[in-house]
């Protein structure tokens, strides 16, 4: 026991002061996460600012954001293993880990969000499969598809964990991890297949099928969410190692890898931007009039135009920076481009949920507001803190960036 305490003490003292302060903050957030999690799970959702008008809040915004941004994992894997863009190899481990964490915390936040967490298994036991082969409820598809893809991510993460230098000493572990890695293209293909469904269903389809809701009903919403994930996901996949490099004060991923993925993300962001403009145009001209509603009237309230405006502006910044070589190769601009890319997708989700719920259903109502309680904030921020801690732990103990470990070995 004393050895463990000594090890932990030495480990802690080996960290620079700024890392220690960051860890204090992260641990505090995790502690608050645990406290409020107990409160919500045992005493219910009455402690949130959600209500019968504003049925979903910050946790579902987080879920949609996590899944869309975690979508970078399937897309990067697809480009690497299926399209053989080998320059992305240095990014793949980190990408798989971020994808895994995004999906893990999507499940965790979903468990908090449902009123009966102990009945969460009903989604598997009594799915709303409907009369046809495809699920009738988009949420049934989300539950099943997310689960399958999460299993794929676990399998993809497994060889990365096994490549830890202590585990890798055992030949059986080494060869198992090696051959599992060789089969990774199969899982990348399965992951892509599954991701196309749940990215579309959770991000778009779930909202697009609500035929009685004027701000959500759109036939193409399913596809918009897929394009959004393909555009925004890679930005997070580049931003996380960039921040890790900044903290570690050394470049963890070769520039080539960043530039290759940035070019791909830049092109997909153009597609996303055009699709989103088309989406807003059809909403104004085609879908809102079906309800005798006016888009301009619906865009009022607390989260109307500024959210969409910020989203489009962030998309444009990402497009310019990621597509223009001069900007892309400049470190500061590049990071600004990545942040803009992530922000654009987050704002899309904020628009879907926060603004979607604030729109009045009856002519005598005004726009609604939503102000998350401390329970909601700390469970959300605590999730982000847990993800950050897991990522930091992996950077330190698992060869998340093979190039860096390779260089260090020599």
């Amino acid at each position: 026991m004393s050895k463990v305490i000594d090890f932990l003490k030495n480990e802690w003292n080996s960290y620079p002061r700024n890392i220690q302060i960051s860890l204090y903050v992260l641990f505090a957030l995790v502690a608050l996460f645990v406290i409020f999690a107990i409160q919500i799970l045992f005493w219910g959702l009455g402690y949130t600012d959600m209500n019968n008008r504003f049925a979903m809040g910050i946790w579902i915004i987080g879920d949609l954001g996590f899944v869309a941004l975690g979508g970078g994992a399937f897309f990067t894997g697809f480009m690497l293993y299926i399209f053989r863009v080998d320059k992305l190899q240095p990014l793949i481990n980190s990408t798989v880990l971020i994808g895994f964490m995004c999906y893990l915390f999507t499940f965790i936040l979903l468990v908090f969000d449902i009123g009966q967490p102990l009945r969460a298994w009903f989604g598997y036991a009594y799915p709303n499969w409907g009369p046809h082969t495809m699920p009738q409820s988009m949420l049934t598809e989300v539950v099943w598809c997310l689960t399958f893809y999460f299993i794929v991510l676990c399998i993809e993460l497994f060889p990365i964990i096994l490549s830890n230098k202590y585990l890798d000493r055992y030949p059986a572990v080494h060869y198992f991890a090696h051959y599992l890695h060789k089969l990774m293209w199969i899982f990348a293909a399965i992951g892509t297949f599954l991701s196309f469904f749940h990215q579309g269903s959770l991000g778009g389809g779930m909202w697009g099928v609500l035929y009685a809701k004027p701000y959500w009903f759109r036939h193409h919403y399913f596809y918009l969410a897929i394009v959004a994930a393909i555009a925004g996901g890679p930005c997070l996949m580049m931003l996380a190692p960039k921040i890790a490099s900044w903290v570690a004060k050394k470049e963890l991923v070769p520039k080539d890898a960043y530039m290759t993925l940035a070019q791909i993300a830049g092109v997909t962001f153009i597609a996303y931007f055009l699709f989103r403009v088309y989406d807003l145009y059809t909403l104004a001209k085609h879908f809102a009039p079906l309800f005798d509603r006016n888009l301009v009237d619906m865009m009022g309230g607390y989260y109307g135009w500024w959210v969409v405006g910020l989203e489009l502006l962030a998309s444009l910044v990402a497009i310019v920076i990621l597509n223009v070589k001069k900007f892309r190769e400049n470190e500061q601009y590049f990071i600004a481009g990545l942040i803009s890319g992530v922000l654009a997708i987050v704002m899309l989700k904020v628009d879907v949920l926060l603004h979607g719920f604030s729109i009045p259903n009856f002519p005598w109502q005004d726009f609604f507001g939503y102000n998350p309680t401390i329970q909601e904030w700390f469970i959300f921020l605590g999730s982000l803190a847990c993800m950050t801690l897991i990522y930091m732990w992996f950077v330190k103990y698992i060869p998340l960036f093979p190039e860096k470990h390779h260089e260090e070995a020599h």
């Binding site: 409820s137 035929y211 309800f291 259903n361």
Partner: protein, 273 residues
């Protein structure tokens, strides 16, 4: 004959007394909290909404008018009433809600996982969630209705047109040897309690019923909640046809009657309000 239950609420007769709301809460074992002033989190199947025309620039004092709208689940059927597709039913991931042959949208509390997706899908804010554990202050616990199960915290509940009363009436009929489930009719608690007879309930398909749908649809006072497409049915049938091919409409089974134009405009939707 298969029943298709519906409701007609005459707003010209409604005084806003709230008896329907109380009767509904009592009949359906709705919880009573010490402080029910937190309206957005309150558990109520029938909401009594006060609307005025005070935002209308033409309405100057003393012409400002007030009306009360009893709003419950509108028991939507979608475009095809013979193959009902309410907005809230198909979205449920665990089949906790369904629509019966009688057109009533049911909810099984004990199956519900509390995801609230049905609440998101409902355009009428008719579904309510148990944000807190249901409590019954004082002696209210002794007056609970044994025909209605109490929902747990974290589940969705809704108006079912008091379909348990129909079951009770059917059980009585079966005891008398009548096995046709459509042989009997019933009256939900809100309609029974209304002192001015403003709420009428019955079978929309039955010509002898006070809510016979073809007759109600011809009534110039009839209007449905946020359902402005109804206007097109007579004014522009081709546009109506076109729109209903593009998307489903809720097609609720609750009709409101009023002779006041401002109220009709307000109820029908955003187009004229």
């Amino acid at each position: 004959m298969t029943r298709r239950w519906g409701m007609v609420i005459d707003l010209d007769k409604c005084t806003g007394c709230g008896a329907c709301n109380i009767a509904c809460a009592q009949e359906n074992n709705l919880p009573i909290f010490k402080d029910d002033s937190d309206v957005p989190k309150r558990v109520t199947f029938l909401d009594l909404i006060e609307v005025t025309n005070d935002k209308d620039p033409k309405a100057q004092y003393p012409d400002v008018k007030v009306a009360y709208i009893p709003k419950m689940c509108q028991q939507c059927s979608g475009n095809d009433p013979n193959n009902p597709h309410p907005p809230c039913v198909s979205v449920c991931p665990v089949v906790a809600t369904d629509v019966g042959e009688d057109g009533v949208v049911s909810q099984i509390w004990s199956r519900c996982i509390g995801c609230r997706y049905c609440q998101v899908a409902c355009p009428y804010e008719a579904r309510v969630f148990h944000w807190w554990k249901p409590r019954y202050e004082g002696s209210f616990k002794e007056s609970l209705n044994p025909d209605v199960s109490i929902a747990s915290r974290g589940t969705m509940v809704k108006c079912t047109f008091c379909s348990h009363i129909w079951k009770r009436e059917r059980d009585k009929a079966i005891a008398q040897g009548i096995t046709d489930i459509n042989a009997v009719t019933y009256t939900p608690a809100c309609a029974s309690a209304c002192p001015t007879n403003a709420i009428l309930f019955g079978d929309l398909n039955d010509p002898s019923s006070p809510v016979y749908e073809p007759k109600i649809q011809k009534d110039p006072r009839a209007v449905r909640l946020v359902h402005s497409i109804d206007e097109l049915r007579t004014k522009d049938p081709s546009e109506y046809e076109k729109r209903t091919k593009i998307k489903e409409y809720p097609n609720p089974k609750v009709y409101y009657l009023t002779s006041q134009q401002w109220l009709r405009d307000k109820i029908s939707g955003f187009k004229n309000s």
